[in-house]
């Protein structure tokens, strides 16, 4: 390796002081090999610079902003979808309530303190249109069996180990991990990265 390597780089880079440059130029003038080396490095850096900005299809840049706004809108829609997904159990609960207590709104005294316990007579009052006397136990048993069937379906979906389901699990796993990594903020991502580097799990520290 050339003993002047660092000085060559500093000279080409223009980061020498005036004195350093004058002194080094004296050395260069008496060393043909050094002159050739400096010229080669200069040329290589220039070639790299020229190659680094090729002509491009400008359509990409023209479409960048529309694409950005489209993604922003898409994200909002996705958030709404996500919200709908998370709200769906609540929606199901509301539907169940409507099934259990039809006509409730017309018959129940809505001004009644909600914290007050609903008695069996309240329920019978609500269910009067059906002219059936349900006991609280009947209703609880019906509610439990309905809930059980929903839970059973969810569990059987989770435990379905058919190849299609395994694919789905892998995809879900991929999506979840990917989303999790993408959702990390800078410090969290850097912390994770540093720990992986420190534990030699990722090679080639930058």
């Amino acid at each position: 390796m050339n003993k002047y390597r660092d000085k060559i780089f500093a000279y080409i880079d223009g980061s020498m002081t005036d004195d350093e440059r004058t002194q080094f130029e004296k050395i260069i003038s008496s060393d043909t090999g050094l002159q050739i080396e400096i010229e080669e490095i200069r040329k290589s850096l220039l070639v790299m610079k020229t190659d680094s900005t090729p002509d491009v299809d400008e359509t990409y840049f023209i479409n960048l902003l529309p694409e950005f706004y489209q993604r922003q809108t898409g994200k909002k829609k996705f958030k709404l979808k996500k919200l709908a997904y998370y709200l769906s159990p609540a929606a199901a609960a509301v539907i169940l309530m409507l099934i259990f207590y039809p006509g409730k709104t017309t018959n129940l005294d809505v001004s009644k303190d909600l914290s007050q316990e609903i008695t069996e007579s309240d329920l019978n009052e609500v269910l009067n249109p059906y002219e059936t006397n349900y006991s609280l136990n009947d209703l609880m048993s019906f509610a439990t069996s309905t809930t059980d069937s929903i839970v059973n379906n969810l569990v059987s979906d989770e435990l379905d180990l058919s190849s299609k389901s395994v694919d789905k699990m892998l995809t879900d796993n991929y999506t979840n991990t990917n989303e999790l990594l993408n959702s990390l903020d800078e410090s969290q991502a850097n912390e994770l990265y540093s720990q992986l580097i420190n534990k030699d799990i990722i090679k080639g520290a930058r």
Binding site: P54, L64, T177, N190
Partner: protein
């Protein structure tokens, strides 16, 4: 008295809800953002992802701009941080086996470089750059391709000028050695 920075007026207008002003900012700096991301990631698809991330950060944080640096420095700092963050996440994803690398995918049609000769030359350059550690690569790009002073790079990266010079010289040295080996 120095002339007022025209970017500052754009920022004020954008922060007051003028979408056209925000668009002007993006149009002015989009190529710089893209090329930094492109040279750092080594392929168009990843660069595009970084660009979109950077635009989101600018969009969401422009109101927090304090007018203490130039808009260019601010945007470059965001671009640098997002790119390094993207590269770190990509490494973790590759480790977990949940991401296919887009780098060196020369067969990919997803590119904006149309000229085949230029594309090949650029691909060779990308390949060389990718062999540098990310931080050396970043400093080399800022210094050699974006003509930034060490002071500017220091403002963006938070590193000392001495450290930056050392990193830059290491990068040039490695690149020269790799080029010789490839000859």
């Amino acid at each position: 008295m120095a002339a007022p920075d025209p970017d500052f007026e754009l920022i004020r207008r954008a922060n007051a809800g003028d979408e056209a002003a925000f668009n002007d900012i993006v149009k002015k700096y989009q190529k710089k953002i893209y090329w930094h991301a492109r040279r750092m990631t080594g392929n168009h698809l990843d660069a595009d992802e970084v660009v979109q991330e950077v635009l989101i950060v600018i969009y969401n944080n422009l109101s927090k701009f304090r007018f203490q640096s130039s808009l260019y420095t601010w945007i470059y700092r965001i671009t640098s941080t997002r790119t390094l963050n993207f590269l770190n996440r990509s490494k973790i994803k590759k480790l977990l086996g949940i991401e296919e690398s887009n780098a060196f995918d020369l067969s990919s049609n997803e590119d904006i470089i149309g000229n085949i000769e230029q594309k090949e030359k650029f691909a060779r350059l990308e390949e060389l750059l990718q062999q540098l550690p990310a931080k050396q690569r970043e400093i080399f790009i800022m210094r050699n391709f974006d003509n930034m002073s060490y002071k500017e790079i220091s403002e963006i990266t938070g590193k000392t000028e001495g450290g930056l010079k050392a990193n830059y010289f290491h990068a040039v040295n490695k690149l020269m050695e790799m080029m010789k080996e490839n000859e």
